[in-house]
């Protein structure tokens, strides 16, 4: 159904929040499958409840109804955790999927899908769960469930064994529900006590849900307009309820109606029932569009640059004025730096934003491929700049899919190799100095490098000689060759799948690096080393002729000063001895196609950097020092220049390009 105009402005908010709750719910289900604990069921219940409240306040009634049924099912499970099994988990997941489809349809202003069949299934399962001593028919272990054709689709599977007994949505074995509206006499001098008494009296008749306002507020007399709404699940008739209410003085039963289709669910009000109050008040947050955060950062960055400019200008002021001006500039700088830091902190987002959906994805992929997989995620509360986290969502999912699809062997094959039948995939997030490292490892068969090389040669991407000339590290990086990874038939030959080039590109786009380690028969690790933020970068400033360039310090391995004419030659090109290795030397001026400075006399600096194809030495004229700068993105047409990572403005007002060292030579 289409949202009316007054709710449409909240539609994005609704979609965002509902999706977050559904993702969290999906994650909980995976935990639940491993072992149902009261905590996880409580958490699932809370998420379902929130979705129900949100959908209801947006008037998406079919969505609210489905969420409500899920909530009922989870409530029944809380009472009897022993009945949780794979089948229950499946139905819950189907409901989560269906709810996601609802949310998507709602956002697209399309009619909500019909979920009556799923509703019937939920009701039937609920009936089974609440009936004592009746085991759920045909419990199936998770790992032996047949592969589903489309795990993320909300379609139903073949009718469940018990579906013959279900016909309607309302479950006949649970007591009917009534929606009640109570009004406290405005003249009452103890409205809190009266309201509380009414609640107590009603709860002797059955179970109270969705009490509004919450019980604590009622006790304290905080009842707006004296109106209390609630739902009552009871075996008593409407008349009996009304009779009971008449025994409570100063409280009038304004209306009572059977809940048939949609619960008049309140928006995300906290649960009032004391037995349901779990956890503490969450931190208060507001939602801000990411573009607004980007603009904040731009402005704060420009303020920083402007302050540096003022500082540089202050050097030209007469000596007598300097101290007070310097003091003012220092103060300004401190304030602006503080502001910039806060903007950056506000942008920091935990990795959990993307890793929360992985357990669910892992489960689906594993089922589809008939694998048994345990996914372990650690360090997901480590934070990165929002822009980086957003960029990583797809690559990480992709690596996970590859790990399960191609890394983890089928259970029989694992047994034959003396491995536990259940494969293990780990996403370990760690903070290492100025970087955050995401390592996705599997204990599968590893990458068959020989076959990978063969595939590269067969596809004509490289010649046999070229492949032979590669280092071990470079050979593994062959999985990222575009021509290779998009060819689907190679997937099974090489043991690695589609789109690794896209993963590598995305990681490098945000200033990160990708490393691969593999051990035949033991598994593979993809290591993504990422900067904490996109905005600040530590540079080594170098000059070439009249130009100044910034080299990201993270890519600089060292600096060597030596006389140019004493460099040894190899194949008519100068090389540089650096530690144990001999590195090719490139003139930065010719790489960048800018005029070189006058030839240097005596010692000249060489900067050793990590390129895509290994280390190399850059010949520059002078080293100007180190500086932390605000990185600005390149706009068209500057973004068309290969080898540039960004631009910044130095304190003297001079724009300086920051080089994409990794691709300086290859691009």
């Amino acid at each position: 159904m289409a949202a009316s105009w007054d709710t449409s402005r909240y539609l994005t908010l609704f979609a965002g929040e509902a999706t977050e709750h559904l993702e969290a719910l999906g994650k909980d289900v995976v935990t639940f499958e491993k072992g149902a604990t009261p905590e996880v069921v409580d958490s699932m219940f809370r998420h379902a409840h929130s979705v129900k409240g949100m959908a209801s306040s947006m008037a998406f009634e079919a969505t609210a109804k489905l969420a409500h049924q899920l909530e009922d099912l989870l409530d029944a499970l809380r009472a009897d955790l022993a009945r949780a099994d794979a089948q229950v988990a499946d139905v819950i997941l189907q409901t989560v999927d269906a709810l996601s489809t609802h949310v998507k349809a709602a956002v697209a202003n399309q009619p909500l899908p019909d979920s009556a069949e799923l509703g019937a299934k939920l009701a039937a399962l609920h009936r089974v769960l609440t009936k004592k001593d009746t085991p759920v028919p045909a419990p199936a272990p998770v790992t032996s469930t047949p592969a589903r054709s489309s795990p993320s689709s909300p379609e139903l599977e073949a009718p469940a064994p018990f579906s013959s007994s279900s016909s309607g949505v309302v479950d006949p074995t649970t007591p009917p529900r009534y929606s009640l509206r109570l009004k406290i006499n405005p003249a009452s001098n103890q409205p809190g006590v009266r309201g509380f008494l009414a609640y107590k009296r009603l709860s002797t008749l059955g179970n109270v849900f969705d009490l509004k306002p919450p019980l604590d507020d009622i006790k304290a007399g905080r009842v707006p307009q004296g109106v209390i709404t609630l739902e009552l699940e009871t075996d008593q008739s409407e008349d009996a309820v009304a009779r009971t209410m008449r025994t409570v003085g100063d409280v009038e039963l304004e209306s009572i109606a059977a809940v048939v289709k949609t619960p008049p669910a309140p928006p995300v009000a906290p649960e009032a029932d004391p037995s349901r109050v779990v956890g503490q008040e969450p931190a208060r947050t507001i939602r801000v569009r990411t573009e607004v955060m980007d603009e904040f950062l731009d402005q704060a960055g420009e303020l920083l640059l402007a302050t540096s400019r003022v500082r540089a200008l202050s050097r030209r002021v007469p000596e007598a004025l300097r101290p007070s001006l310097d003091e003012a500039v220092d103060h300004l700088h401190l304030l602006v730096k503080g502001l910039h830091g806060r903007v950056m902190a506000a942008r920091m987002t935990p990795i959990a934003v993307i890793s929360d959906r992985l357990p669910r994805a892992a489960r689906d992929i594993a089922r589809r491929r008939n694998r048994e997989v345990e996914l372990v995620i650690t360090g997901e509360d480590i934070e990165l700049d929002r822009a980086i986290v957003d960029e990583l969502a797809d690559p990480v999912l992709h690596l996970l899919r590859n790990a399960i699809d191609h890394g983890i062997e089928p259970p029989e094959e694992r047994k034959a190799a003396n491995k536990p039948p259940k494969g293990k995939v780990t996403l370990a997030v760690t903070r290492q100095r100025e970087r955050v490292v995401l390592a996705l490892s599997d204990d599968g068969r590893g990458i068959d490098v020989a076959r990978l090389e063969q595939a590269v040669v067969e596809r004509g991407l490289m010649t046999v000689d070229q492949v032979r000339g590669l280092t071990e590290r470079e050979r593994l990086m062959l999985v990222c060759l575009p021509g290779l990874s998009t060819a689907t038939d190679v997937t099974d030959i090489s043991g690695r799948g589609v789109g690794m080039d896209a993963v590598k590109r995305a990681v490098e786009q945000v200033g990160g690096t990708l490393e691969i380690e593999t051990k035949p028969g033991r598994g593979t690790t993809f290591r993504l080393a990422l900067p904490l933020t996109v905005a600040m970068v530590n540079l080594l400033l170098v000059s070439v002729g009249d130009e100044v360039y910034g080299l990201p310090l993270g890519k600089v391995s060292g600096v060597i000063e030596t006389a140019r004419e004493r460099l040894p030659m190899s194949q008519n090109a100068p090389v540089l001895q650096f530690g144990q290795s001999v590195l090719p030397v490139h003139e930065l001026s010719s790489l960048l196609e800018v005029p070189a400075g006058p030839p240097s006399q005596g010692q000249a600096p060489f900067v050793v950097v990590d390129g895509d194809d290994g280390r190399l030495a850059l010949a520059v004229d002078r080293l100007l020092g180190q500086e932390e700068v605000v990185l600005k993105a390149l706009s068209q047409p500057l973004d068309l220049v290969p080898g540039l990572a960004g631009v910044t403005i130095l304190g003297n007002g001079r724009p300086v390009f920051i080089l994409d060292v990794a691709r300086l030579v290859t691009a």
């Binding site: 420009e302 130009e547 960048l592 196609e593 706009s635 047409p637 068309l640 080898g643 403005i649 724009p655």
Partner: protein, 140 residues
């Protein structure tokens, strides 16, 4: 439509007024853009923003400037960014209605020829200018 009239050496050019954000004095030093086509003059710091500037004579391939006549940078409004054009003097704002076909071998950035009194004026197309710059980078 109202146009800004300006000169490259002695030749007269025009761009729609709506496409121009401002005209500033050209800086004395430029930061060169690495690996860029000849027409790319460099980047300048415009109140904290880094703006790419092209030498319009080079871009239109009408030969390099003879003297020190390139004194102004005209900033094209390209939405969230700007493109600077290195030009000579600005003559003023005039309404140009009839724009005839361009000269046979004119750059793709030329929209056509107009007349102002007895003088011919080459009218440029801002979108085509932008595209020509991008093409210069990609085909370099």
């Amino acid at each position: 439509m109202r146009h800004v009239l300006f000169r490259l050496e002695k030749d007269r050019y025009a761009l729609p007024l709506a496409a121009i954000r401002e005209v500033v004095v050209a800086p004395t030093t430029w930061t060169r853009v690495p690996r860029s086509p000849r027409a790319m003059k460099g980047v300048m710091n415009l109140r904290g923003r880094v703006v790419p500037v092209v030498d319009l004579r080079e871009l239109l391939e009408v030969g390099p400037a003879a003297g020190a006549g390139q004194a102004r940078v005209m900033l094209l409004d390209r939405g969230r960014r700007e493109l600077g054009l290195l030009i000579g003097e600005v003559d003023g704002i005039e309404t140009l209605e009839k724009v005839g076909p361009p000269a046979p071998k004119a750059s793709a950035a030329v929209k056509g020829l107009a007349r102002l009194g007895a003088l011919p004026v080459t009218v440029l197309d801002p979108d085509a200018l932008d595209a020509t710059v991008a093409r210069a980078f990609t085909t370099k």
